[in-house]
């Protein structure tokens, strides 16, 4: 399929911390095939990260590089994917301001994703306006590169609905068809729990294994992993359901037969947690080792990493300015 016929996909992350195995399994892993099947833009969403980290910009700044290193080390290839920094695309802000006229305040407040997150973040009466409008900002992120497809979790679907509402309003009001609706690409990958076995993996909950963790730290974290709390003696039977270590083995251990055997052994008794954990440590470190190696290589030349981000941002700017030219025409703002 020639380049021009490829659909455009937008993926990305908020640079609020290094990426972890949860990110990997939930989304990063998909970006490797995406970069062949799609025209892939990978956005480091620093502006969005600032909406609820506005008082800690250094954290956002530092993590832009960390996230970029994570991308490069897992195999996102800058010759195939366009990695860019959101704040380097001023057209996104321009488009956001234009879209804000097409959305009512009440509509923003009713957005289920935003409602849930406002509760979680404990803003109380102090909801930053930038947070309330972030779905509009995301609509601009997606449409500025003419995204066709966006892979997000089901909890983020209201954001895509908001985007498509804006697209329809824009095309109807300005009698144009320059914007098109975006499709949701549902992720079929499992959601990996944190090492506590209870919550989604998250930096703030302290239950994450990062792609950048050393072998020792991975070993330590796996040793703390939640298993079967009733499995006190090695000889007694243990439970597989809800046993985090086995969940991880299911995802990362390619020797499916051996895992099945271990499960049976664990269930009938005689296989200790420590032994299973040691296997997981080996498996995880075998998986992470090449990532660590590539990370170390890239990290030794941070200027080159920044160069990649600058080039990706410049390419994105070019696409964005083409979109804005069309938007300006539609809005009769194309002064001549």
């Amino acid at each position: 399929m020639p380049m021009s016929q490829k659909k455009t996909i937008l993926t990305g992350d908020r640079p609020t911390g290094p990426l972890h195995l949860g990110h990997y399994v939930g989304s990063l892993i998909n970006r490797i095939p995406f970069q062949d099947t799609y025209k892939q833009f990978v956005m480091i969403a620093d502006m969005q990260a600032l909406t609820d980290n506005y008082d800690n910009p250094q954290k956002v700044r530092d993590n832009v590089l960390e996230v970029a290193l994570d991308y490069l080390s897992i195999g996102i290839d800058p010759t195939k994917s366009t990695i860019f920094i959101q704040s380097m695309i001023p057209q996104i802000a321009e488009l956001t301001v234009i879209y804000l006229n097409l959305v009512t305040v009440n509509r923003l407040k009713r957005n289920p994703t935003v409602k849930t997150e406002i509760g979680q973040k404990k803003f109380g009466e102090h909801i930053p306006a930038g947070f309330l409008i972030y779905p509009v900002h995301q609509a601009a992120d997606i449409t500025i590169v003419k995204g066709d497809v966006v892979p997000v979790g089901e909890d983020q679907l209201p954001i895509l609905e908001q985007t498509n509402e804006i697209v329809r309003s824009f095309n109807r009001i300005y009698k144009t068809d320059i914007l098109h609706e975006v499709e949701w690409l549902a992720s079929k990958t499992p959601r990996l729990p944190g090492i506590d076995g209870k919550n989604k993996m998250s930096k703030s909950l302290g239950n994450a294994i990062f792609l950048s963790d050393s072998a020792d730290i991975v070993a330590k974290k796996v040793m703390q992993m939640y298993t079967d709390p009733d499995h006190v003696h090695v000889d007694s039977p243990g439970k597989i359901e809800g046993n985090t270590v086995f969940m991880y083995l299911d995802v990362f251990d390619s020797e499916k037969n051996e895992v099945a055997e271990m499960k049976a052994h664990y269930q009938r008794g005689g296989l200790g947690d420590v032994k299973v954990k040691r296997r997981l440590i080996e498996v995880l470190n075998a998986f992470l080792d090449p990532i660590r190696t590539r990370r170390a290589e890239w990290a030794s030349d941070k200027a080159q990493v920044m160069q990649i981000l600058f080039e990706g941002s410049a390419q994105t700017c070019e696409v964005a300015s083409q979109t804005m030219e069309q938007v300006r025409q539609a809005l009769h703002l194309d002064y001549k």
Copy 2:
């Protein structure tokens, strides 16, 4: 005083209609001395006009040129003032998005100016988000050019308070002093009522005399002007208070003694409305004639007018990009 020591003033208008005598007396007239005493930026606020005219962009587009012609014809001198089009300064949108994180939704809703206007505009439950946030957009307009002084009516003071709140928050949170608070320059000019004598002059109320009105139209409008409704016979005494024609003469007739005599005559009886109106027609047309001549000259070369706006916008962009560079540094978004 050397150029660099001049304070910066930001003035401007929403291009939603041609400018009228109310604009002239209330603000345009001041911009002539301002262009010597200040570094003056004059903004044609097309983006702000779109917040409540998003469904009629052609109206906004057309009035950008009309407003520019009004500016040039009253003597705003593009070699002394920087006239620019708001939408041509993408940095304003960038700064708006950054400021939105520093303002809460509740704070925006409590803004008295916005509250009043939301009532007037009958949005009901359908307040466009762009309208709610327009004070933040204005804070960006003012601070992107490092405005020191803004001349606005008293009803717009809450907008300046919002700007200064944002400036203080920004400087505190980002430990900087790059932004400074803006001063209000109260206008000492009278508020000119419309020809109905009741309301502020306004295009939508149909009670305005435009700077671009022909002599005939001015005559017709003055003839419709509200005077003293009880002054039915020429011989009976008439009232000066609330008599629109005399209010206009007070503003536009330089022969103060003659006006005083006419007032006395009118009050004791024997001076008819038509006679007073004829005088006002003469006075207004004498005032408007050189404006009309200059307007016709500029209007014969619209490309040159647009060129002036483009050059002013390019100059503003330069200032704006310096401000954004400082803002990016403060926010640690100055990637290197």
